[in-house]
């Protein structure tokens, strides 16, 4: 039954698929996740700060990002960022940022909204007594956040943060709308060129599954290792 299929095309294109496609996907995922967690943590702190203006801006931002489809945000940013850049820097022409930077900014800003919800739960999971103890020892807000609250919140939320990163890993395939070539894009190109759609998309699916499944497995292993002894 599989006689009509030619999986030789997969082996022939492996260097291209992984050397370019997968490297792009992993780079974008890692950078966007790293920056997204940092930004998301700051947004979560803003939401929990109790400072009226700051609190509301953060809430509106998170709600907005979470209610828009990612593809739409990617499009909007791609077309808007050059104009925003021009407006910020005062340049007369739109600032060229390039598709990759645009994608990176978009994913960072979009994922930050999701990471901020996770970090907000993480920060709230730390008892008031811990912050009181930090304050009583003379720590400032930032010292108590950096040394007491956030390290514990990160550990408690690490599984969720990594699970969200796995989702991000899959979402990066949406960069095809910016004509960027990620792993799926690379597979798609080869498929179109050689007319081997089934083989290439099947292979891509297997790779995504293998990566995400083993990542989830590792997350579970990691979870028990970083858990705080109570």
């Amino acid at each position: 039954m599989l006689s009509n299929f030619d999986f030789g095309v997969v082996t022939a294109s492996l260097p291209y698929l992984f050397g370019q496609g997968m490297v792009f996907t992993v780079t974008l995922t890692a950078l966007a996740a790293g920056m997204g967690v940092v930004l998301g943590t700051l947004i979560a702190m803003a939401r929990l700060s109790g400072v009226p203006g700051l609190k509301h801006v953060a809430k509106v931002y998170v709600e907005l990002m979470r209610s828009l489809p990612l593809v739409l945000v990617i499009f909007w940013f791609y077309f808007l960022v050059p104009y925003i850049g021009a407006w910020v820097t005062g340049a007369s022409n739109p600032v060229q940022v390039g598709a990759f930077s645009s994608a990176l900014i978009t994913f960072t800003l979009f994922e930050a909204a999701y990471f901020s919800e996770i970090m907000r739960a993480g920060i709230q999971s730390i008892s008031k007594g811990q912050t009181a103890a930090a304050s009583a020892l003379g720590m400032t807000y930032w010292q108590s956040m950096a040394n007491v609250v956030l390290p514990q919140a990160f550990r408690n939320m690490l599984p969720l943060l990594l699970t969200q990163t796995i989702v991000l890993f899959q979402d990066t395939s949406l960069v095809y709308v910016l004509s960027l070539t990620d792993f799926l894009g690379a597979a798609s190109k080869v498929a179109q060129r050689d007319g081997r759609l089934v083989e290439m998309y099947l292979f891509a699916a297997v790779v995504y599954f293998a990566v995400c499944f083993s990542a989830s497995f590792l997350v579970r292993r990691l979870q028990s290792r970083v858990a705080i002894i109570r």
């Binding site: 007594g129 811990q130 009181a132 103890a133 930090a134 304050s135 009583a136 020892l137 003379g138 720590m139 400032t140 010292q143 040394n147 007491v148 390290p151 514990q152 550990r155 705080i228 002894i229 109570r230």
Partner: protein, 286 residues
């Protein structure tokens, strides 16, 4: 239908013979307080001046006034919900209050100009639920504030921390995590953590209330030693034995008011207010 009698309980045997039971290093001799820190009695350390506090419409503290002199040990007692924990948390501004003023070592607590973190770093506090940092080892718990707040070099902070850990008899546990220690041990570490900052006064907020009965003694021993070394202490507790032993004065609170503020002998001898008499008769019966 006949009921089967429950089997007689088997006489309990200790899990480990006493000779093999794990032991702490035992209390080390030597003062817990720097001789330089132990202030000569006299002079006011904490002045609480007519403070009132509300949660919304509910008034938790009503016009509380008292003071703690240098080197004095003051025990605050009273029924649950009487506001004693809230009062002690007002002293280092963990709880804000709306009226009145508290002065600690000549620094106003509720004042925009006051550097609160700096003031708090001089006021040691021990909590009911210990509040050690669970993600840090015992040594890190003892050194983190010294390093980040006081800016002590790591070696000095460690020396000071491990020194105090030895004084509370827990040297063997330096590299463990709080979750691996018993409640009593955690509370002794918490006291050492507060002392590591060389505080001028120590606040205790029901330090033994969350402990199993057999661990209360080890924590009280450390506190008694601390009192004898001349530390200024304000202690919220139900441990009347501790109050009898080391307190200079006893404050009795009820419904957010200071009802009685008397020398220990007077308080236990002839409490003036009826409410204090009732309270004492209830807790001393047992």
């Amino acid at each position: 239908m006949t009921s089967t009698p429950m089997p007689a309980p088997t006489p309990s045997t200790p899990v480990t013979p006493p000779s093999q039971a794990p032991t702490d290093a035992g209390f080390q001799t030597g003062p817990l307080v720097d001789p330089a820190q132990a202030k000569v009695p006299g002079g006011t350390m904490i002045a609480i001046d007519a403070i009132s506090k509300w949660y919304g419409d509910f008034q938790v503290l009503t016009n509380c006034t008292t003071k703690v002199s240098k080197g004095e040990v003051v025990v605050v007692c009273g029924p649950s919900g009487s506001g004693k924990s809230t009062l002690i948390k007002c002293v280092n501004a963990l709880e804000p209050f709306q009226k009145g003023q508290i002065t600690v070592a000549d620094t106003k607590v509720m004042d925009k100009a006051t550097n609160l973190p700096k003031l708090r770093s001089r006021v040691g506090m021990v909590f009911q639920h210990f509040e050690l940092f669970p993600h840090l080892s015992i040594t890190e718990n003892l050194t983190i504030a010294q390093r980040k707040v006081l800016g002590r070099p790591k070696e000095d902070a460690q020396k000071r921390g491990l020194d105090l850990l030895a004084r509370v008899g827990l040297s063997a546990h330096a590299n463990k995590y709080p979750g691996q220690l018993s409640g009593g041990q955690q509370q002794r570490v918490a006291i050492a953590r507060a002392l590591a900052m060389n505080p001028i006064v120590m606040l205790f907020d029901e330090p033994t209330s969350a402990l199993d009965p057999e661990m209360v003694g080890e924590v009280l021993d450390v506190m008694v030693e601390l009192a004898r070394d001349g530390m200024t202490m304000m202690v919220v507790t139900h441990e009347m034995g501790f109050a009898r032993k080391v307190a200079d004065r006893v404050i009795f609170m009820d419904r957010g008011e200071i009802v009685e503020d008397a020398k220990k002998e007077d308080f236990f001898g002839q409490p003036r207010s009826e409410r204090a008499q009732q309270f004492l008769s209830k807790i001393l019966q047992h």
